[in-house]
């Protein structure tokens, strides 16, 4: 188990504070946040690479806060792979073995197995200068796992790969995690990656953790407007509540159940809103007439902004629907969404 207690790191112009995390053995945990939120800093603090101002870090019950990096039993994989340029693929992978001599036979077997799993056997003697991005990434993974660390720290390992490769390596990471006993802690700014790989995640916002929980919970029930927006919920509104009603400006929304206390926001996913010509009505439906304000082509789909009673909703619309509904700027349409799709927080 990794335990981080009250971690505080101060750099000129940036502070990481109140970081408390508890990650289970063997878990695939994601640290999610935008660039500059301090994700990599947390990884490097665990690895012992950056000095920390305050706080304590434990791995498997042992405090490692003051230990040098080589005694922490953690391996790190960087986005740019950071392979040793003067060593071959095999020598990169076996670099750390001489420091983990407890069981040389097991180590050797482990390296062979890892190289097989990652398809690196044919590349063993190659110089790393002649590898593709994907091959470099796999070499970096094999090197980190060869020493059988308690924790594998992954710093945006997929973002330097081109999109076709990314899915392959994503699958590979998932498989690898299932096959080894190591705890994976991965940093990413892509929530789709987090959803696919992670069991639980923490969302970071400028040096602080906004929310921790199982990935599906964070995705569907964000706790702050920041997390909601980061999870791709584009309709987040400040609201006042009374029983099963929420008021955003002058627009009244029907909720599925009473909001409860201390709630300030409603959030509706853009893909949960339906656009129609005449409106879709029903018991649990919220429906309004709205005017199309803008249309933006997002490639596979359109994003339509439409205003209803001074509230601007953003709606995701398939290309097919878009053509069928003859959407045009300034045109009046109907927006509707189920009460159950409104998230209150």
């Amino acid at each position: 188990m990794i335990e981080i207690k009250d971690l505080f790191i101060k750099f000129p112009g940036f502070t990481l504070q109140d970081i408390n995390l508890s990650i289970q053995d063997g878990e695939f945990f994601m640290l999610l946040g935008p660039t500059g939120a301090g994700k990599t800093l947390i990884l490097e603090a665990i690895a012992g690479i950056v000095p920390i101002t305050r706080g304590r870090i434990f791995v498997k019950g042992k405090e490692i806060t003051r230990l040098p990096p080589e005694q922490r039993d953690t391996s790190i994989v960087y986005q740019d792979y950071a392979l040793f340029p003067h060593l071959s693929v095999l020598k990169n992978i076996t670099y750390g073995l001489r420091y983990h001599k407890n069981n040389p036979k097991a180590s050797k077997k482990r390296v062979t197995q890892l190289m097989e799993q990652l398809g690196l056997q044919p590349l063993a003697q190659r110089s790393i200068h002649n590898l593709s991005g994907g091959e470099k990434q796999r070499t970096a993974l094999a090197r980190a796992l060869a020493v059988n660390p308690s924790v594998l720290l992954l710093d945006e390992p997929l973002s330097a790969l081109d999109p076709n490769f990314r899915e392959d390596v994503r699958e590979l990471l998932k498989k690898l995690h299932q096959e080894v006993e190591t705890t994976f802690l991965m940093v990413t700014h892509d929530f789709a990656e987090a959803m696919f790989l992670g069991e639980r995640m923490a969302v970071l916002n400028t040096g602080k953790i906004d929310q921790v929980g199982p990935v599906h919970d964070v995705f569907h029930k964000p706790a702050t407007p920041f997390v909601a927006k980061f999870m791709g919920i584009k309709n987040v509104f400040h609201a006042s509540f009374r029983n099963t009603k929420a008021r955003v400006n002058n627009l009244e929304l029907h909720l599925q159940s009473p909001s409860g206390e201390n709630k300030h926001y409603v959030a509706i996913r853009p893909e949960d809103i339906i656009i129609s010509r005449n409106g879709t009505f029903g018991n649990d439906m919220n429906a309004f007439q709205a005017k199309v304000m803008s249309i933006s082509d997002q490639g596979p789909y359109y994003e339509v902004s439409a205003e209803a009673v001074n509230v601007i909703f953003r709606v995701m619309l398939s290309k097919n629907e878009f053509i069928k509904l003859e959407i045009q700027k300034g045109k009046h349409i109907h927006l509707s969404f189920r009460s159950s799709t409104i998230h209150v927080f």
Partner: protein, 264 residues
């Protein structure tokens, strides 16, 4: 064939400047190399005094480079990797020997090594003599050459991504093991260039050496002596041999420091 474009006048100014600079450097040197007759050159190289002084020049500047390598490498590493209070000051201090007039360097070192200074007395007790000795020459040459080594190697260390060292540490290697297995292996070329820079600077030193040790005579002092005693014609052959030998040595080191193909 490439399409001709209008060329900006600044381009011609740059071309003119380049030619001027190259001629300014090469012309006096080639003239000097070409002026002595083959017989003069032959006589000079057969003179044991000349051979001895060139040998001493190479030996003392080589020693200065070796000392710079030993003490300058960890220092350059610290400067490249750590930020600390007063770092700018330390970086300025290492530049001082470049700025100080050379005779002043000689006088400063002699001042320390003299009988009136506690350090001089201490050195005398342990049998270290600076004035008029090879030790003195090496000391002075290290003083003037060290900044060139440190600055070159510092830039070399800075060019190595710190992440490689982080990875090595996280895989179990200590700081010193990481230095040997990663940093040194990637920075040795810049160390070799540093050694070339340092010894090139050392081999050309005259002002500081002449104050600390007129004898034993290094080549620049001998050239000066022959010039003042017998004139330009007598000093030129020694100068030519010094240039030839140093150029050969530096060329050899430079070739060793060139990256092979497919290597960074």
């Amino acid at each position: 064939m490439a399409i001709k474009r209008k060329i900006d006048p600044f381009f011609w100014i740059a071309v003119f400047s380049t030619v001027t600079v190259i001629v300014f450097i090469i012309f006096p040197l080639t003239e000097m190399v070409l002026q002595p007759s083959v017989q003069d050159l032959k006589d000079a190289i057969c003179d044991p005094d000349v051979l001895g002084s060139i040998g001493l020049s190479i030996y003392t500047s080589g020693m200065a480079a070796l000392i710079s390598f030993l003490i300058g490498t960890p220092f350059a590493y610290l400067l490249a990797r750590k930020d600390f209070f007063g770092k700018k000051l330390v970086e300025s201090i290492i530049e001082l020997p470049i700025m100080i007039p050379h005779p002043v360097v000689g006088i400063a070192i002699l001042g320390l090594a003299g009988k009136n200074h506690w350090l001089g007395q201490l050195m005398q007790q342990v049998g270290i003599q600076i004035m008029g000795t090879v030790t003195g020459i090496v000391t002075v040459l290290t003083f003037v050459g060290l900044p060139f080594y440190v600055n070159t190697v510092k830039a070399g260390f800075e060019a190595i991504p710190v992440r490689l060292e982080n990875i090595s540490r996280s895989l179990g290697a200590s700081l010193s093991e990481t230095f040997v297995r990663v940093t040194f292996r990637l920075a040795w070329r810049s160390m070799l260039v540093g050694i070339i820079m340092c010894s090139a600077r050392a081999i050309s030193e005259f002002g500081a050496v002449v104050i600390v040790a007129y004898h034993p005579m290094i080549a620049p002092v001998m050239i000066y002596e022959r010039f003042t005693a017998y004139g330009i014609k007598y000093s030129q052959p020694v100068a030519v041999w010094l240039i030839v030998v140093s150029l050969l040595l530096f060329l050899l080191l430079r070739i060793c420091s060139l990256p092979k193909e497919n290597q960074t």
